[in-house]
């Protein structure tokens, strides 16, 4: 563990302890179908990411690949606490939240492969996309920025008297940004119907939380903003659902902003290229062995909710089929048309003109590929000539 202080707070590492659920817990209201649906979204998240790893290794993923391995419960359980009309803003490790809100595997795969018919038409990377109709707003890379944006989204709900709630995710690292502070403070003052979920997964890129904050717990920051805060085991999907649902209900009742801290663990590096050299030996393996959210939840479905092995394995099978089909469809998509790069910066004018030395050219890709003489890529032929 990165610090001694963390250990006792992460008692969940000691084993899949069942979170206390009293009869008041919102999750007791879930039907057995809904409980299985939670499992479906978690499994879909993991299987889809595993497929992306395969495509990444085949160099079909154009940019970096970001995993949420071990955080599936946190993403799925929190998004599941929202109604269809509500809006959330995901982070790079909230693939599960987006799937719950209606993003499809085909869209995700097309995004990663930079296809022309991807949701952003090849303009943005990975899961950086949104759809206000389905209720999710794409993030940008500067962290913390979505907190003020979601303050504004929920301000509009309040101004229009709409019965809608917003949810925004921030990592442990983003809590250090000015935008996080300004956004949560603004929303708290305006009593916007907003839930701020701090996903404490132990690391911001390579930086452990001990180097991110001197605070003992992120949830304590709620006190400074004059808002309620609650912390839960982020690897227990029903505990995540419960804590988020309580915050969502408060927001819906007009009680303003809540801060939720979810304790989880990032089992992969920041992105696929990151070998996690900074992680203490055995830490990742211990979380995998003792506190995997899917293992925990499937055991619970069997033991506590009488789900059969068949029910669970048929979901696994359905997910595999869904991901296979989506991969086939996404792989058939073509790349974007180069000239589309100049369209849609503004509503008016609708497009930029190509610069004069590009006029009449359909593409610059051929000229851009590493031509002979491109420095280190072709030093030998240069040296001999």
């Amino acid at each position: 563990m990165p610090t001694g202080r963390r250990t006792p707070r992460r008692s969940a590492t000691g084993g899949p302890a069942v979170a206390a659920r009293d009869s008041e817990s919102p999750s007791t209201q879930l039907s057995s179908e809904q409980r299985l649906e939670l499992y479906y979204w978690m499994r879909l998240t993991r299987t889809l990411e595993e497929r992306l790893v395969a495509l990444y290794r085949q160099t079909k993923v154009v940019g970096g690949l970001f995993r949420s391995l071990g955080q599936e419960a946190d993403a799925v359980g929190s998004a599941f606490a929202l109604e269809r009309r509500d809006v959330l803003s995901p982070l790079i490790r909230n693939l599960g939240s987006m799937l719950v809100k209606g993003a499809t595997p085909v869209e995700i795969l097309r995004q990663y492969m930079a296809k022309g018919d991807s949701p952003t038409r090849g303009r943005e990377l990975n899961i950086h996309f949104g759809d206000t109709e389905r209720g999710f707003i794409g993030q940008i890379s500067p962290l913390g920025d979505m907190v003020p944006v979601m303050a504004g989204v929920t301000l509009s709900f309040k101004m229009r008297g709409e019965d809608r709630v917003g949810l925004v995710y921030a990592g442990d690292g983003a809590t250090s940004t000015g935008a996080f502070h300004e956004g949560i403070n603004f929303a708290a003052v305006q009593r916007c119907p907003l839930v701020v979920v701090v996903e404490n997964n132990g690391y911001a890129y390579s930086t452990p939380t001990s180097k991110q904050t001197a605070a003992a717990r992120f949830v304590d920051k709620a006190i400074g903003y004059g808002i309620p805060g609650e912390r839960a085991d982020g690897n227990d999907v029903l505990a995540v659902y419960d804590v988020t649902r309580r915050a969502v209900d408060r927001a819906r009742r007009g009680e303003g902003v809540s801060l939720v801290e979810l304790m989880t663990y990032r089992r992969k590096g920041h992105a696929e290229h990151d070998n996690q050299s900074y992680v203490p030996d055995g830490e990742v393996e211990r979380w995998e062995r003792e506190n995997d959210p899917l293992t925990r939840y499937s055991a619970r479905l069997r033991d506590e909710f009488d789900a059969s092995d068949d029910e669970i394995s048929s979901i696994d099978e359905r997910v595999r089929r869904d991901v296979d089909e989506a991969t086939d469809v996404a792989e058939r998509s073509g790349p974007p048309a180069p000239l589309d790069a100049l369209v849609g910066i503004y509503a008016d004018p609708p497009a930029e003109k190509p610069l004069w030395y590009r006029e009449g050219q359909e593409s610059a890709v051929a000229a851009h590929e590493r031509a002979e003489g491109w420095g280190t890529f072709n030093t030998t032929s240069k040296a001999s000539s």
Binding site: H128, D145, A151, V153, N185, I345
Partner: protein, 325 residues
């Protein structure tokens, strides 16, 4: 109709747009009960209530971010920067988030960020800036900077109605110094169109905001003392630039002086010069020259500020050099 000031013209535009569209609302620091540091929003809270005239915490990132979020959902927020100098705090939100929103996410972000800008007022380094150049450099933002009361009103109305983010720079030296009678009816000045403030044959001065008035003063002096016929073009919009108007005046007079109050290096005068060079080099009888602020933070003392900023006499002197070239 009575004449109103540049400041009142802005307020009139805000009122008319808020009356026209319930989605339009204002947010900023001290803009409600207090009416804003310069009183631009004075009385708006009485007319439209606290829900549409929001007093916010001191949070430029929070305010601009919240405006963006509300804009995504169909609102038309108008953000006040108490002084435009503080827009630097929101630079990330404007350039990384707002400016890219439509392009990267197909997500409209129609909003206005407005605020008192510019010097000649002894405001010192943090109440006098002209930070337009950094934003002109950012695709996805529009930038306007009116010189007259009519344009202040007409461009504000266009900015509120625009489907993208418009940065609306208000020159605080002009707030109460220039007045005009407003054109009747729904007065909207299109974004991206320059205005010939004074016609002329011998040389052109291309400028915007407070220095339009200095250029007009200089043109009168040059006519009287040198017999020169000077054309003054008021850009009004800085992004997008009115290429047609720039090209037309360059090809008409064949001598161009670009004047701005912003500092020299990386200022928009360099961009205008480059465009003239690319499109109209063969028409030129002289190199394009610039009169700008010196490349220093803006100092407080009158003796220092006046030395740093472009003055009418500087414009006269540069124009004579250009005419004699």
């Amino acid at each position: 109709m009575a004449e109103i000031t540049y400041l009142e013209a802005i307020r009139e535009a805000l009122i008319e747009e808020m009356e026209r569209d319930v989605n339009v609302f204002c947010l900023g620091e001290d803009i409600g009960r207090y009416g804003g540091a310069f009183k631009v929003t004075d009385g708006l809270i009485d007319r439209f209530g606290e829900a549409r005239v929001l007093d916010t915490p001191i949070s430029e990132v929070g305010i601009v971010g919240a405006a963006a979020g509300a804009a995504h959902m169909g609102m038309r927020p108008i953000v006040e920067m108490q002084f435009i100098d503080f827009i630097a705090n929101a630079y990330d939100m404007l350039t990384n988030y707002v400016a890219t929103s439509r392009y990267r996410a197909l997500l409209p972000c129609p909003m206005v960020v407005r605020g008192p800008s510019g010097g000649y007022v002894r405001g010192g380094p943090f109440h006098s800036q002209n930070p337009e150049a950094g934003f002109i450099h950012t695709p996805g933002l529009k930038v306007v900077y009116p010189a007259t009361a009519e344009d202040a009103k007409g461009l504000m109305k266009a900015a509120v109605r625009d489907d993208d983010c418009v940065l609306f720079f208000e020159h605080k030296y002009l707030y109460r110094r220039v007045k005009a009678e407003m054109p009747a009816g729904d007065h909207v000045v299109p974004i991206g169109k320059a205005r010939v403030a004074r016609g002329g044959r011998d040389l052109s001065i291309i400028t915007y905001a407070a220095t339009v008035w200095k250029a007009l003063e200089a043109a009168a002096t040059l006519e009287k003392e040198d017999g020169l016929s000077v054309e003054v073009v008021d850009l009004r919009s800085l992004a997008p630039l009115d290429d047609e108007a720039i090209q037309a005046t360059a090809r008409k007079t064949n001598r161009v002086l670009v004047v701005h109050e912003d500092t020299r290096t990386g200022g928009i005068a360099g961009e205008i010069t480059a465009r003239i060079n690319e499109t109209s080099f063969a028409w030129l009888d002289a190199p394009v020259l610039r009169v700008t602020a010196h490349d220093v933070p803006l100092p407080y003392a009158p003796q220092l500020e006046d030395f740093v900023l472009p003055q009418t006499t500087d414009i006269v002197r540069a124009a004579r050099t250009l005419a004699a070239y």
